[in-house]
Symmetry: C2
Subunit: 82 residues, 2 copies
């Protein structure tokens, strides 16, 4: 298992309710791919959403996001943290 930070662009004006619902949609599907979405952060002004997850691969992260209806624009494996 590895950690990933994925990034969604173009989410201008995203609301707290929309972020919660999107995150819940990921959580409802993640077990199928052995992924766990740990946290999501959103900047409504620039339309950027960051999601931190633990997963077997970037492809597994993307499959959950795609099935939940919000494909990621970037997925970075982040093996280093401080």
């Amino acid at each position: 298992m590895a950690h990933f930070m994925d990034v969604h662009h173009g989410m201008h004006g995203v609301t707290s309710d929309q972020l919660q619902k999107a995150h819940q949609a990921d959580l409802a599907l993640e077990k199928d791919e052995d992924v766990h979405f740990e946290h999501a952060w959103a900047d409504p002004d620039s339309g950027t959403v960051f999601c931190l997850s633990e997963a077997p691969s970037a492809d597994a992260v993307q499959r959950v996001h795609e099935r939940a209806g919000h494909k990621a624009d970037e997925i970075h494996e982040v093996p280093l943290s401080a």
Copy 2:
């Protein structure tokens, strides 16, 4: 106080030791700006570093990073999280 996610590009091949030292440099300076750097994650392959902080402003975050020698390329206020 607000939360910020800042992003550094071009950090290809960053090592765990380099990330720890950079984070420690931020921690050593952050009090001057009333900032706290909570966590940093790095993807050495794409050269991307993400830093999560709590701070009074994006400018305060940048001042700490600049003094520590690693100016951020993007600073996103992230008022929403899930």
